[in-house]
Structures are given as structure tokens and as C-alpha cells.
């Protein structure tokens, strides 16, 4: 059957200048979730499974752009960025990867596995007091993913996993820069709840799939696999 309607735009309101999203053959699959939610484990398992099936995969994530990743890391270490500057720095990093990694890979038919996407970036900014409309417009150039899975894990379990892995809580993942509490543990709990509340708000707006991350990795993988399978078989 001939198509009579044009495809809906694959961006969030702003056309990225110089790119045509209609010719993208691959699939963009996003995993969202806090540190300790099991994102990396799940991405590794999905990658193995997909490659075993013969799909080409590409991994992308935050703070990995050729353009500004190094500078962003250095600035984070010194904790010298104000909120708006930090937001824009991350947006630059994102846009550089979108244009130079994500889009070329999708054009070539790869499955792109994104370890976090614009949702984490938006939630972090909003929790830090950025204007919601400003942040949404900033990321309105992003490509709409084919699927977004949000691994929701209770803050208690996140703490446990973070301690088991690093024996310490990350400064930023504890939101220590916002001054929620001088006590890092308390700050972490408060910050993660704020982020989760923001994700709940975004969930209804962007319609992502919430995955119960409080389970064993194998069980989560089985659910993800079934859902990714559906994405791959859709046109």
C-alpha cells in the first residue's frame, strides 16, 4: 500500500539543521536509570544477544563526545560550573554525539544502544532549578528513540549497589552540588527521589517503558529482550 501520510517528525520540535531523519534505517534503543540501576550490565547483555543474532551495535552514552568530553570532565572535577553553563556543556556533548555517532550509525543500519539519553540530562537540569520549557526546547533537536526503557530501582537498593561497587557515593549522583543536605547519604536519598519524581512526570509525557530494576539481572534481561525483539520486528 502506498503511504499517503508523511511520517511524523522524529524530533521533539526543532529540526536539526543539515540532517534528514527520514533516511535512518537502524534502531535507537535507550536505557535510562540511576547509577547502580544495572544499566551497564543490561546494555552489555543486550549487546551480546544482538550480536549473536547478527545485528551490528554501537554504544553511546553521556560525556563521550570527541568535542568536549575531556573539558567537561575537567570542569566537573573542579566543580566550577554554574547551572546554566553545565546544562549547555552537556547539551553540546550530546549534540556532538548525536551528529557524529548516533545519526551516522543509524544511517548505516546499526542498533544504537544509548546508556542514558536526553531524559537524564533534562531531569538533572530541572531538579537543579532550570526552567522546564527552556530545557525542553534545548533538547528539542534530539532524535526520538525507537524505545526508551527506564530501570527503576528503589533508592535503598541503589545505595546498596553503589556501596558494593565503589564503597562510596558519587558526588554528582548524590546531588551534593545543590545543597540538599551536608550529609552525603541523606543528600543521595533526597536527590534520587527528586530525580525519580521527575522521571515519573516525564514518563507520561514521553511514554517510556518502566522496568522494575529491583530484580535479578537475568529476569530484567529476559523482559528487555522480549521488548527489544518487538522493536526490531516493527518496520
Amino acid at each position: 500500500m502506498m503511504k499517503t501520510m508523511p511520517d511524523p517528525p522524529r524530533h521533539f520540535g526543532t529540526q536539526l539543521p543539515g540532517y534528514d531523519f527520514s533516511e535512518l534505517k537502524g534502531k535507537l534503543i535507550v536505557l535510562e536509570g540511576a547509577d547502580g540501576s544495572g544499566r551497564s550490565t543490561q546494555i552489555a547483555m543486550l549487546k551480546d544477544w544482538l550480536e549473536n543474532l547478527g545485528y551490528g551495535t554501537v554504544n553511546v552514552g553521556l560525556k563521550r563526545s570527541m568535542l568536549v568530553a575531556e573539558e567537561l570532565e575537567a570542569a566537573q572535577q573542579g566543580n566550577i560550573l554554574s547551572h546554566t553553563t553545565r546544562s549547555l556543556f552537556y547539551a553540546t556533548d550530546f549534540a556532538d554525539q548525536l551528529e557524529n555517532n548516533i545519526i551516522p550509525a543509524l544511517r548505516a543500519g546499526f542498533v544504537v544502544l544509548a546508556d542514558r539519553y536526553i531524559y537524564t540530562l533534562m531531569a538533572r537540569d530541572i531538579v537543579r532549578g532550570a526552567d522546564r520549557a527552556w530545557v525542553k526546547s534545548l533538547y528539542s533537536i534530539a532524535l526520538k528513540p525507537d524505545a526508551v526503557f527506564y530501570l527503576r530501582v528503589s533508592p535503598q537498593l541503589l545505595v546498596e549497589r553503589n556501596f558494593r561497587k565503589n564503597a562510596t557515593l558519587n558526588y554528582w549522583e548524590s546531588g551534593m552540588d545543590i545543597g540538599l543536605s551536608r550529609d552525603m547519604f541523606e543528600s543521595f536519598m533526597k536527590y534520587q527521589r527528586l530525580i525519580q519524581a521527575e522521571f515519573r512526570r516525564m514518563q507520561s509525557e514521553y511514554g517510556f517503558t518502566v522496568i522494575n530494576g529491583n530484580r535479578r539481572p537475568r529476569a530484567i534481561h529476559a523482559e528487555l529482550r522480549a521488548k527489544v525483539q518487538e522493536v526490531l520486528s516493527s518496520p
Binding site: P17, L67, T84, E99
Partner: protein
């Protein structure tokens, strides 16, 4: 007189093409204010140390697209804004900005970015109390810049837009488009348009007159001896 932004400080921006004479004018304005003992701060486009490395790297290796060009400059501006401009505005300084957000609007829009997106990017920045636009005809600005046969940089010449195959022709076309964007904004953004063909000292007299008319300068004197 109260300002729309509500801060005790004042912001004066100068805009115009390269070679329009704006930097000379803002320098003379700064000298005049300094000699009158006013609390002033001068800031330039692209001057934050923090983001300079990223900008330099991107520009050198020609890694930037219209979107990342725009974002890198917005990040740089935000750093200067949050670190210097805003705190100084709150502290009651007169801030002189050699180029401000309108430079970004003109360049990014010419590069094909969505105008609404670009404007939103900079919506955190206060609107200046006075924005001078130094309007010199394109040929005059181009003549001043190109007469020295300077080495034009890749992005400065708009080479990324594939307008021409050499820097000089590309620069001329690119500047022409930016000039058109400035002219559009002059009306909508309420620029104070200055005739950039007048002698330097005549322009400066007019600039000082506009400043005195709009800002009660006596409020911005240093208190006590320095």
C-alpha cells in the same frame, strides 16, 4: 530610572559587523567612564577561559556543525554570564559588552539554526539597557577588514556554509547575510542605531549622549577614595 531587568546594575551592549567600528567605540566609552570614576566592567564575546579550550579545539579541527557551533558559544556565554555579568549587575556595576546575544542570533540563524531554538537558548540572559548597533554599509566594513589582507579563519569566514571556494569571497557573502539579520533585529529588538560612517569622535559624542540620557551615571560612582 528603573531597569526592566530589576538589577541595580546596567548593561550596555555594542553590536555590528567586524569592521563596523564598534570595538573602537566601546573602548572610548569605557575610557570615558573610567576617567569619571564609574564602576564598570568590560566583557568580550568568546572570552571565558573555561570553554576556550573546547572552542579552540572545535574550530581548529573544524569539528563544529551549526548546532554544536551554537551550543559551544552559548556555553561560553553562559559561563561568562553566570560568573561575571550577572553578579556584577547585582552588585551595581555598569557592564559594557562587546557583542552580546544578538551576535549569536545573527550567526546561528544564518547558519541554519531554528530561530526559536536559538532565542530560547539565550533566554536566561537579561536584555541590555542600551544596545548600540554600529551600522556601516557592508562595503565599508568589508573594506576595513579586508584591506589588510588578513588571514581569515575558517568559521569566521563562514567556510562551513560552502558559500564560495575561498575565504575572501565566502567572508563577503557571509557578512552580507549577517548584516541582513542585524538590520531585521534593529527594529524588533530596539537597537540604538549609530551611523558607522561618521567620524570616530562624532560617533563617540553621540554614544556618550545616549548613555547620559538613559543612565543616571552619578549612581555608579565609586564611593570614597580608591
Amino acid at each position: 530610572m528603573n531597569s526592566k531587568h530589576g538589577y541595580p546594575g546596567r548593561l550596555i551592549a555594542v553590536e555590528g559587523l567586524d569592521g563596523s567600528g564598534k570595538s573602537t567605540q566601546v573602548y572610548l566609552l569605557k575610557r570615558w567612564m573610567e576617567m569619571r570614576g564609574l564602576k564598570i566592567f568590560f566583557t568580550e564575546w568568546n572570552s571565558s577561559v573555561l570553554v576556550k579550550d573546547a572552542t579552540r579545539k572545535g574550530k581548529k579541527r573544524q569539528l563544529l556543525t551549526p548546532t554544536t557551533f551554537s551550543l559551544v558559544h552559548a556555553t561560553d556565554f553562559a559561563d561568562r554570564y553566570e560568573r561575571q555579568i550577572l553578579p556584577l549587575m547585582r552588585a551595581g556595576y555598569i557592564v559594557l559588552a562587546d557583542r552580546y546575544i544578538y551576535t549569536a542570533f545573527a550567526r546561528d540563524i544564518v547558519r541554519g539554526c531554528d530561530p526559536r531554538w536559538v532565542r530560547n537558548l539565550y533566554s536566561f540572559a537579561v536584555v541590555p539597557d542600551i544596545t548600540f548597533f554600529f551600522d556601516a554599509p557592508l562595503e565599508v566594513s568589508l573594506g576595513r577588514i579586508l584591506s589588510g589582507r588578513p588571514k581569515l579563519k575558517y568559521f569566521e569566514a563562514g567556510m562551513d556554509l560552502n558559500l564560495a571556494d575561498n575565504e575572501y569571497d565566502s567572508f563577503k557573502i557571509f557578512q552580507g547575510r549577517i548584516y541582513a539579520e542585524y538590520k531585521k533585529m534593529a527594529a524588533t529588538e530596539g537597537f540604538t542605531v549609530m551611523d558607522g560612517t561618521l567620524p570616530i569622535e562624532k560617533q563617540q559624542a553621540l554614544v556618550r549622549g545616549v548613555v547620559e540620557q538613559n543612565i543616571n551615571l552619578s549612581l555608579f560612582r565609586w564611593k570614597g577614595k580608591q
